[in-house]
């Protein structure tokens, strides 16, 4: 195992930094149901980290623990070398963690541009009155943030739907808009909950390309949950495998692919 504090270089020449987030013995229960049982793993800076597992394995719960939406009953979350106290989701966002959702959670009636602008709220501080009359600081802030948003729009190639209400967009594009909103927040860690669910092959290829580009261009650390094995194995640097709330494998895609427990639990026999 590599030293957690030491950066290393991957085969394709990317530099992966030291551990930025660490889960230590996380256990999460809903009443009597144990969703996550004593799981530990880490996320390194700049890597693409996948969490996989069959339906009901506790993947989304895990992501919700990372995003601070759930507070585990046992265990600790360490972020940037400090133990993280239980936080409100907006406080987690302030720490530089952004996410997308498995079921798209955009403002359907608003335009793409406005939706992506909401990703910048963390960077805006003008008061309610100033915002309402749109003078001085509010105006200046909007101009600055609009520029950042436009860069994201350009990056994800959604210029043509800039002014389109989200409700009119097809599914694949909505997913991309959601990614845009998360990116607009300039996160240091990006959490993606099933970014490819329900997409056709072409849309998946596009989305994979964007995920790689985000990682490559901005150095964003990415943690993602995904069902499509091909996508996971191609994209990720390291993979955590979960089954029935337990961790049954952790390592590079090749290591995971060879792990007998993983083959039995997930790749070999299906539970669903």
């Amino acid at each position: 195992m590599l030293d957690s504090a030491e950066p290393y270089t991957t085969e394709d020449g990317r530099t992966i930094g030291p551990v930025v987030m660490e889960m230590k013995n996380i256990t999460l229960r809903f009443g009597g149901v144990v969703a996550i049982q004593d799981i530990s793993f880490d996320i390194r800076e700049g890597e693409i980290r996948a969490i996989i597992g069959p339906n009901g394995a506790g993947k989304s719960s895990m992501l919700n623990v990372i995003s601070g939406f759930y507070n585990p009953q046992d265990g600790e979350v360490w972020y940037k070398g400090e133990k993280r106290p239980s936080l409100k989701p907006y406080q987690v966002a302030q720490q530089g963690i952004a996410r997308t959702f498995q079921n798209i959670a955009l403002f359907e009636g608003m335009s793409v541009l406005d939706n992506v602008m909401t990703g910048r709220i963390r960077q805006m501080s003008a008061g309610l009155v100033a915002q309402a009359i749109w003078k001085g600081k509010a105006e200046r802030e909007e101009t600055e943030n609009r520029e950042a948003v436009e860069r994201v729009i350009d990056f994800l190639e959604i210029q043509h739907i800039r002014k389109t209400p989200v409700s009119r967009l097809p599914y694949g594009l909505k997913k991309r808009v959601e990614l845009a909103r998360a990116l607009a927040a300039e996160p240091s860690i990006l959490l993606l909950d099933e970014p490819m669910a329900g997409m056709n092959v072409e849309e998946k290829e596009d989305m994979s390309r964007f995920i790689l580009d985000v990682n490559d261009e901005f150095g964003t650390t990415i943690a993602l949950i995904e069902h499509d094995m091909g996508v996971v194995m191609d994209l990720s640097d390291r993979v955590v495998v979960m089954d029935y709330g337990k961790k049954i494998g952790d390592g590079t895609p090749d290591e995971v692919r060879r792990n007998q427990d993983v083959i039995d639990a997930y790749l070999g026999v299906a539970h669903d």
Partner: protein, 657 residues
């Protein structure tokens, strides 16, 4: 041959025009591009600085006079600057189609022996790297968008900005070299090399001199009174001669502003925002726009629809005459004015055509209905006829003398003669120098007196004195019965129906004509939606009995109209089938400019062609298709063959009486 025309006031090259514009029109906008949601603009003075920095960078990189530089990308100011920078250092720019497949690029880049390439992004970089081994003389590549390219080996790969930075840094050492090279340029030096689309065989490199480009730009600008204040939207492929003339030739001659859209998908929005005053579009663009207007009107409320129908009927009646300056009663004018307030004005605004003073269409025949629709709205849409070898202009329609079925009078300085077989020949200052490395083709196309064979058959219309083109000269043939056979003429008539996207007519030397037809998925799909007809794929819709019935009606309408034509009555389509796939340039069935490759199609679909003539009712077929990324797959289908009624030709009867 007549004595060659010499340049005026030392304006013998595009870089010289740039110098003039940077002085005379220093603070006028030269380029705009929408980026990050905002129109960014550059004045002529700024443009000159940008181009100079790039040119110095190119010298620094080792570009020599006479080198060929490929330019591959969509319309962006950077690429226009690249072209002029290449010219400034004495190199020859070769703009190429950015959607060309790797092997197509390999052919042309190897043919011209390009030492350098300036490309847009990772996609193009990958493509050139893939073919690099086949290019013996290729050395350096410059890209504009660095995204995804950071990890590439940068030994021979450079970022555009860095080349400009190097240029600025080496200003002191290289500026005198740049000036010297720029001053050597004159009317005889090569301005650009453009590859023809290659309807038949391999593409040919057409070498155009500064004389060709500047003279053609100058005389056409005068013809239409183009001014400094024009706005154009540059959205057509840069490898196409038209874009070169409009966005470089005429823009530099007149000093007007070239606007580049944000991306291909936003073109319509950008068009609206810019509101060009001078606009060119191939017929297909006008067709698509009209189709989308009509589809949206179908979905509009009843009140709006009635208003639209009422005033459009009035526009059809008098709109064209008002535009042509013919007498129209005061009452009709008043009503037209109201229509303008309620319908035409807002519609033109939506289309982005409110400010168009001069509009052109060319490349293919345009449907009379489509043409008159735009004209009746008060848009001065005209036709021109041209080709790469002529630096575009052969004929142009003057204001007020516009018709759908002719292409105009000879452009200023152009002489035209019709050969015995009907082929059109021309001679003009814009006539190309030669085909690069292809003396044989040069000789067979351009005779020692400077006359060029267009390859098109046509005649001068007696009534208007304008040229009428009927078909490619080599495609014109005879039916078995001796009647004239002109497939494209028939195909165009078929394509005028919104439901028909493409048609390919066969029948040379045979008893009767037959056709392959492609339906237009937008139009037919919308019809299916309104009539609750479900379909899962293009193929299924194309084979739907009601669709076939509709197409049959269209074919029969065309047959009736052909029957009234004295020359082409024999070309009526007796049997046809609707193809199971769209004809596509990726499959080699069309050129990149979307002209059908008749021979390729008749070979590829030989069994279908046989079935059209052997009397069978249906045929099973399997076709290989190429996806955008180069992978191959196949689709199979059973196609119905439909008979269409032909009409006895009237004129033969008249002749007999």
């Amino acid at each position: 041959m007549a004595k060659p025309i010499e340049a005026m006031d030392g304006l013998g090259s595009v870089p010289a025009l740039l110098q003039r514009n940077a002085l005379q029109f220093a603070n006028r906008p030269a380029y705009r591009e929408k980026e990050y949601g905002i129109w960014q603009s550059w004045t002529w003075a700024e443009t000159e600085k940008e181009i100079e920095a790039l040119a110095l960078g190119l010298i620094n990189l080792g570009v020599k006079e006479g080198d060929f530089i490929s330019v591959i990308g969509r319309n962006r100011p950077y690429f226009y600057w690249s072209i002029v920078a290449a010219q400034s250092v004495g190199a020859i720019p070769v703009p190429l189609y950015q959607d060309a497949a790797a092997d197509e690029l390999a052919y042309v880049m190897d043919h011209c022996g390009a030492r350098f390439a300036i490309v847009e992004d990772q996609e193009q970089v990958d493509k050139v790297i893939e073919i690099q081994d086949q290019l013996t003389e290729f050395e350096h590549m410059i890209y504009i968008d660095p995204r995804g390219l950071r990890k590439y080996d940068h030994a021979k790969l450079h970022q555009y900005d860095h080349i400009q930075d190097d240029g600025r840094a080496t200003h002191g050492e290289n500026i005198s070299e740049l000036r010297a090279r720029r001053e050597k340029l004159n009317y005889d030096s090569i301005c650009v090399m453009l590859y023809t689309s290659g309807t038949t065989g391999k593409p040919k490199g057409v070498v155009l001199s500064n004389r060709n480009i500047i003279e053609a730009s100058k005389s056409s600008s005068e013809f239409d009174n183009l001014r400094l204040t024009e706005e154009v939207l540059a959205y057509l492929p840069m490898a196409w001669v038209g874009d070169f003339i409009f966005s470089i030739g005429q823009a530099y001659w007149c000093g007007f502003c070239v606007n580049c859209p944000e991306s291909a998908e936003t073109m319509q929005t950008d068009l609206r925002e810019i509101g060009p005053t001078y606009y060119f579009a191939p017929p297909r663009v006008f067709e698509t726009q009209l189709t989308s207007v009509m589809i949206r009107m179908e979905d509009a409320g009843r009140m709006k629809k009635r208003l639209f129908d009422h005033y459009m009927a009035h526009a059809r009646k008098v709109g064209g005459d008002i535009l042509d300056g013919k007498p129209v009663s005061a009452m009709d004018r008043l009503k037209y004015g109201l229509g303008n307030l309620f319908v035409y004005g807002p519609l033109k605004n939506t289309l982005g055509l409110s400010r168009v003073r001069v509009g052109y269409t060319a490349g293919e025949a345009i449907g009379p209905e489509i043409f008159s629709f735009y004209r009746s709205l008060g848009i001065n849409l005209k036709q021109l006829y041209g080709q790469t070898e002529a630096s575009v202009f052969i004929t142009l329609q003057p204001d007020g003398e516009v018709r759908a079925d002719t292409v105009g009078v000879p452009a200023p300085g152009v002489e035209i003669r019709i050969a015995e077989g009907g082929e059109v020949f021309y001679r003009s200052p814009g006539t190309f120098e030669y085909y690069y490395k292809n003396e044989e083709s040069t000789k067979s196309t351009k005779d020692p007196d400077g006359w060029v064979a267009t390859g098109d058959a046509g005649y001068f219309d007696e009534e208007t004195g304008q040229l009428r083109i009927i078909d490619r000269a080599k495609d014109v043939g005879k039916m078995a019965g001796g009647e004239l056979y002109a497939p494209k003429y028939v195909e165009n008539k078929l394509k005028f129906f919104p439901n028909i996207l493409e048609a390919v007519v066969f029948g040379n030397g045979r008893e009767e004509c037959t056709a392959f037809i492609n339906i237009d998925l937008t139009a037919v799909g919308n019809w299916a939606e309104r009539n609750n007809i479900g379909y899962a794929s293009y193929q299924e819709l194309a084979g739907h009995p009601q669709v076939l019935e509709t197409i049959r009606e269209h074919v029969e309408t065309v047959n009736r109209s052909l029957a009234g034509d004295p020359m082409l009555g024999g070309c009526q389509v007796h049997r046809f089938l609707v193809l199971h796939k769209e004809l596509d340039a990726d499959d080699g069935e069309m050129t990149r400019t979307r002209k059908v490759r008749r021979n390729v199609i008749s070979e590829k679909f030989a069994e279908l062609l046989t079935a059209l003539y052997d009397g069978s009712d249906e045929i099973f077929t399997k076709t290989e298709v190429t996806y955008e990324d180069g992978r191959k797959g196949s689709i199979s289908a059973t196609l119905k063959i439909v008979d269409a009624a032909a009409v006895p030709v009237e004129t033969q009867r008249v002749a007999a009486e």
